[in-house]
Amino acid sequence: MNAPVENSLSEAGLSAAGAAGFLHRYEGLRARLPGIGLPWLAALRDRAAEAFRAQGFPTRRVEAWKYTDLAPLTQTGFGEPLTPVESALPLPRHAAPKRVVFVDGRFSAELSDADVPVRSLARHLPELEGRLGALARTDDLPLVALNTALFEDGALIELGPDEDGGVVELLSVTRADRPVTAHPRHLVRLAEGARLVLIERSWGHGESRYLHSPVFEVEVAAGAHITHARIQQEASAGLHLSTVFARVAEGGTYDSFLLHVGAKLSRSEAHVALVGPKAAAHLNGAQLLGDGQHGDCTTFLDHAAPDCPSRQTVKTVLAGRSRGVFQGKIHVHQVAQRTDGYQMNQALLLSDQAEIDSKPQLEIYADDVKCSHGATVGELDENQLFYLRARGIPAAVARSMLIEAFLQEAIEGVTEESARAALSEAVAGWWERNAA
């Protein structure tokens, strides 16, 4: 299986496929990784590499990976991204007036706007002891372990008490002219009462298979509020495996919306802990998958304090031979009385060959809680289609109207105007590609 990869190793600088290839790269790169001179960080990286060695890439025998097969990842040999970044790199339009750009996991000052409250993580590592890695678990999450071992850079956003960070776009571009991997590590810390709208987009250029595997650690202090719109628009052969950890203190809000429209294979995991009373989480999302695409939205929500509301509506639209996955686990701890949890997963199948796997999981240890969940799977409603067509609306337009309507409920929940507009635009782009 590895023969062709091994053969091209020397010319293209690719490593062997599978976990061994990544570990080999870690050994080769280690001395040059940012912050390796900091003992705490070197130890963090080494422990993570060891955790990854012990676990390897997850297989479908692992419960949490039952529906998502990482074969496209484990069977590919990857190489290092090239440097430096050409400033001529074509980029998508701004989704917010201010944006920072990361190329292949590295901050690009040239492509980024000035006066954005985002810094390059790599340049501030000495300040981050005890903060970096405070939320991200590596012992049972091999992709997070891999990220911790290999990250070179990422966004560092730290807002002081009551500071308003405004709307910031974080654009991650991967140049996919060769099979490269990028493992950016982003750290977002909102002090008490701070506010931020973060529009995070993942974008790819080129035809090659590549891996973009970011990890976010998001600290939301008491009364702080973050809107995190995540737009995955990777290139068509891309692999996107992202993990977000968020911890929300009393009265704070982590309000996220995840949109999967690109990539060959994508999985976004969110691990959100509500640790103070009245902390809130919105883990909404939509997946729009066309022929040959696989999208997986997996969430773990920890209600660890009383009086916390959580809302989760995830909608998946599947065309052609595509596969969608939704896994949503809600854990209500014994202290989390008066939890108000809502989870809804809905899928719209546009083809006979599409498949959706849905796994809600509620674990409730408190007695006074309100937790509801539901799932629906359906096709476009023939009566609705006919009604639109009977008014002279062509069938293709009628279908797109109904698909948009299906998504509307999910996107409407995004109160931040710029985030909602960026999401709508990504949805429209998907529809144009899949209309036929």
């Binding site: 023939e382 009566n383 609705q384 006919f386 009604y387 639109l388 067509r389 009977a390 008014r391 002279g392 609306i393 062509p394 069938a395 337009v397 009628a398 109207m401 109904l402 948009e404 309507a405 299906f406 998504l407 509307q408 409920e409």
Partner: protein, 247 residues
């Protein structure tokens, strides 16, 4: 002219329309009356092009265009309009967006320029005022949370905006109080003219007091069993459909 000849249709192998013959010349309004289950809605769906019906025989044309060979949207573009007996709810589709998309789709197919949002709103508001519809109905999802009467008025609003050349109104009067009934009738009467014809399906004579038809047809058991002038409707009101069956 709407011309139907020997039209037969079945659903799931069960014959519902058993040979319909009907001619509605341009400029005329005809009523179809008949008891529940006689095939009135089936006829209107078949003419509008809904799936699920097997047309086993006969023809239906409008101004020489073979309706049965066209997609539903093409039928609409030639000027056919069906006011649904049970208007469909479209959650998540705004009524304004729906109306404008429909109107512009038809304008495009006629080679007319599309209306922008402002032009559309102006037109829509004027029509809504005539139909005593509150303006916020534009903002709501299509028919979502509308009362029965609001749904029917929304159908008439669509007709008023789309300006069809032949309208089939399938029990647009049912569930309306007398005031709403008058408003709906005014909406239809306002469209009457040499280039507009209508088929008004009802099983109450009441509506026909306000929309006076040129001809009245009685549909029973999938066939038109009797045709007459407006007085036929009054006669049916008095003696019921039993007398027709006996005839």
């Amino acid at each position: 002219m709407l011309k139907i000849e020997g039209l037969t249709a079945e659903i799931d192998g069960k014959e519902i329309l058993k040979g319909i013959d009907l001619e509605v010349p341009q400029g005329e309004v005809h009523a179809i009356m008949g008891p529940n289950g006689s095939g009135k809605s089936t006829l209107s769906y078949v003419l509008a092009g809904r799936e699920g019906y097997e047309i086993t025989g006969g023809t239906a044309s409008f101004n020489g265009h073979d309706l049965l060979a066209m997609e539903p949207e093409e039928r609409a573009a030639t000027g056919l309009f069906l006011a649904f007996q049970y208007p469909v709810e479209l959650p998540g589709v705004g009524n304004a967006n729906f109306l404008r998309t429909a109107l512009n789709a038809q304008r495009r197919s006629k080679g007319e320029p599309e209306l922008d949002a402002m032009q559309f709103l102006k037109t829509a508001r004027a029509r809504m005022k005539e139909l005593s519809m509150p303006e916020d109905m534009l903002k709501r999802g299509v028919n979502v949370g509308f009362s029965g009467g609001e749904k029917k008025r929304n159908e008439v609003l669509q007709m008023a905006l789309l300006q069809p050349r032949v309208a089939i109104l399938d029990e647009t009067d049912s569930g309306l109080d007398i005031d709403a009934l008058k408003i709906v009738a005014d909406g239809v009467n306002a469209m009457r003219g040499p280039d507009f014809s209508a088929v008004v399906i009802t099983h109450y004579q009441r509506l026909l007091d306000y929309i006076v038809p040129d001809r009245v047809h009685v549909l029973m058991g999938g066939r038109i069993v009797q045709t007459g002038g407006p007085e036929l409707a009054k006669q049916l009101e008095a003696s019921g459909y039993g007398s027709v069956q006996a005839a």
